[in-house]
Amino acid sequence: MGKQQKLRICLAASSGGHLSQLRKIARAWSGRPVFWVTTVDIVNRSLGDDSRVYAVGECNREHLLRLVSVLVRCIYIVLTERPDVVISTGAAHGCLMCVLGRLAGAKVVWLDSITNVDRISLSGRLTRPFADLFLVQWPDLVERYPGVEYVGAVI
C-alpha cells in the first residue's frame, strides 16, 4: 500500500485539445500525487489543486530548434521529479516525456487523441513500441495496431 501512495505520476499533454482530453479522465489518478507537463502557460491556472505544473513551450516537427529547448526542460523535469508513471495524450512533448520517463524507469500510459480516426498519431506511433498501456478512442484502430486497447472515447 505504501508504494501505491507514493506512485509519482506525470501527466503530459499539450495545451488545448490534448490537455482537455487528459483532464476528462482525472478520476484515473484521483487521490494520487501528480504533476503536469504542458506546453503553454495560460491554461495552467485552471488545472487547480496543489499539483505542480510545468510549461515547456510549444514544439513540433516544424520547429526543430525549439525542440532542443523543450528537450532540455523535459530532461530537467524527469531528473528532478523522478516519475514512476507517465500518462500522456500527446503530442510531441508528451512523446518526449514518455521516452525520457521510460529511460528513467517509469511506466508509460498513452491515450491517443480522438482526432486520430484512421491511424494513430505520429507521437503515438513513436511511443507505442515501449508503452505499457496504449489506448485508442476508435474501435477499428485495434484491428490495425496489435497490442493497443479500446475501452471507450473520452469525448
Binding site: I9, T115, I155
Partner: protein
C-alpha cells in the same frame, strides 16, 4: 445570430472570407458575429473581433442559434456539450492553416455520426449553411469513465511487488 469562430492560434482567412461571401449574397438567415483570431481578411458583411475573453466567448456561443467554425476539438466539444448546431470546415495543411490534416478525418467521422455538419472546402459551404437551420446534432455517447477505470486499474497493479527486477 450565427457565431463564427476560427480559434485564436492561426489565421483561417479562407473560412472568414467564404462566410463573408455567403452573407454578401444574402444566403445566411441571420446576422453573423465572428471571432477571427489572427485572420487578415476583413469581413464586409458582419462584425468581427480578433479575440474574446472566455466569458464573452461563452456568451456568444450560448446565445447563437448555430455555430460555424474550424474543426478544432475545443469548439466541437463545446458544441456537443451544449447541443449546438455546428458547421465546420477543416483547416488544411496545404494552405498552411495547420501543421497536419488531422481536422479532416475527425470532422468527417463526426459528420458521418451525425454530430455536426462538415463542408470540405468553400465550395460545399453554401449547401451546408442551408442545412444548418434545420440540423439537429446527435448527442455523443462518450465514456471517459471506462478509460479512467482502465488506467486506474493499471495504476493499481503497479503497487503489486514485481517478481523480477
Amino acid at each position: 445570430m450565427i457565431f463564427l469562430t476560427v480559434g485564436t492560434q492561426f489565421p483561417f482567412d479562407r473560412l472568414v472570407k467564404a462566410v463573408d461571401d455567403l452573407a454578401g449574397e444574402g444566403l445566411l438567415a441571420e446576422e453573423v458575429f465572428a471571432q477571427v483570431g489572427d485572420s487578415l481578411y476583413q469581413p464586409r458583411n458582419f462584425q468581427a473581433v480578433s479575440s474574446l475573453d472566455k466569458k464573452a466567448f461563452d456568451g456568444y456561443f450560448r446565445s447563437a442559434s448555430a455555430v460555424i467554425s474550424h474543426a478544432g476539438m475545443g469548439t466541437i466539444t463545446m458544441a456537443l456539450d451544449h447541443g449546438k448546431s455546428l458547421l465546420v470546415m477543416p483547416r488544411r495543411k496545404k494552405y498552411q492553416e495547420v501543421v497536419n490534416d488531422h481536422q479532416v478525418g475527425l470532422a468527417d467521422r463526426f459528420a458521418v455520426l451525425g454530430h455536426l455538419l462538415m463542408a470540405r472546402d468553400e465550395t460545399e459551404l453554401a449547401d451546408k449553411v442551408r442545412q444548418l437551420g434545420s440540423f439537429v446534432p446527435k448527442p455523443r455517447q462518450a465514456d471517459p469513465e471506462a478509460v479512467s477505470r482502465r488506467i486506474g486499474q493499471f495504476l493499481g497493479q503497479l503497487g503489486v511487488p514485481q517478481t523480477s527486477a
